[in-house]
Symmetry: C2
Subunit: 124 residues, 2 copies
DNA sequence: ACTTGCTTTAGACAATGTCTATTGTAGGAT
DNA sequence: ATCCTACAATAGACATTGTCTAAAGCAAGT
C-alpha cells in the first residue's frame, strides 16, 4: 500500500458517484500532485481485479468506476445528461434467459442498464 | 442514396454478425475502394438515427452495429472470445424496476447484456 | 551499503471516433 | 447545354481514452 494507491482509494471512497479514470486522476492529483496517469490506471485495474471496484460502461465513452462493488445492483442512466443512479430491480434476469436461448454458453453474469430522462433534464 | 451509402447498407445486410465501424469500413473498401472512413462513420450514424441499425457496446472498445433493429432483443457475450449472440429473454425487465427505484426518471428503454463462456472457449 | 524486485513516472504509442477544409457531384434554373 | 446551389464524400488533422515501455525511485532483506 503506497501513498499513490491510498489516494486513489480515498478518491473512490469519498465520492458516491461514478467517476471516469480521468476524473479519478484529476481528483488524485489534487491530493498528490505528482501522481501519474499510468499509476491511476494501474491502481484502478488492480482494484477491479480485487473485486473492490466495478467497471461500468454506460456510455461508449470512458469506463466509469463504481465503488459500490459489494451490493449487486444495476444502473439507470439519463440519456441527456449522463447522470447515473444505482438501482435494484426486483427479480433475477438470469432466470429470464431460457436454456434454449443460451446456445451452450455457461452464463454467469448479467448487466442491466435502464435508460431514460432524469427529472432535471425533463424540467429543462 | 449514393453508391457509398448503398455499400454500407449492403455490408450490414450481408453479415448477420455485429461488426465494428472499422470492420464495416474494411468490408466496404473491398466493394468500393475509394470509400473513406468518415463516410462510413457518417452513414452508420445516419442509419442509427433512422432506427435501421442498433448501436451496441458489449465491450468497452469499439461500438458494434446490429442490423437486427426491428426485433427487440438483448445480447449474450462470451467473456473470452467476445462472440455475440442475439437472445430473447422472457419477461419484461422494464416491469422489474419499481417506481421507488426510478428516482423520478422517465424510463424508456432497457438494455440487458448476459455474459458467460461460449462452447468453443469452454472446450479449449 | 548493496542487491533485488516492485512501484512510479513521463511520454510514446495505439485504437476509436470526430471535425474541418476541400473537392466532387447531382439536379434544378437559366 | 451550362451554371448554381446544396449536399455528399474525401483526406487528414485532431481529440479522447487507454496501454505500453524504458528509466528512475524506493523499500526490504542481506
Amino acid at each position: 500500500m503506497t501513498a499513490q494507491r491510498r489516494v486513489v482509494a480515498e478518491v473512490l471512497d469519498g465520492e458516491h458517484v461514478h467517476l471516469t479514470a480521468d476524473e479519478v486522476h484529476a481528483r488524485a492529483v489534487a491530493k498528490l500532485p505528482e501522481i501519474s496517469r499510468a499509476t491511476v490506471y494501474n491502481t484502478l485495474g488492480e482494484l477491479v481485479s480485487l473485486g473492490e471496484v466495478l467497471e461500468v460502461s454506460t456510455d461508449q465513452r470512458a469506463k466509469r468506476y463504481d465503488p459500490n462493488a459489494h451490493r449487486p445492483h444495476h444502473h439507470l442512466v439519463c440519456a441527456q445528461c449522463g447522470a447515473i443512479r444505482d438501482v435494484h430491480p426486483v427479480g433475477n434476469p438470469l432466470a429470464d434467459l431460457p436454456d434454449s436461448e443460451r446456445f451452450g454458453f455457461t452464463v454467469s453474469d448479467v448487466e442491466v442498464t435502464y435508460r431514460g430522462v432524469c427529472p432535471n433534464c425533463a424540467a429543462a
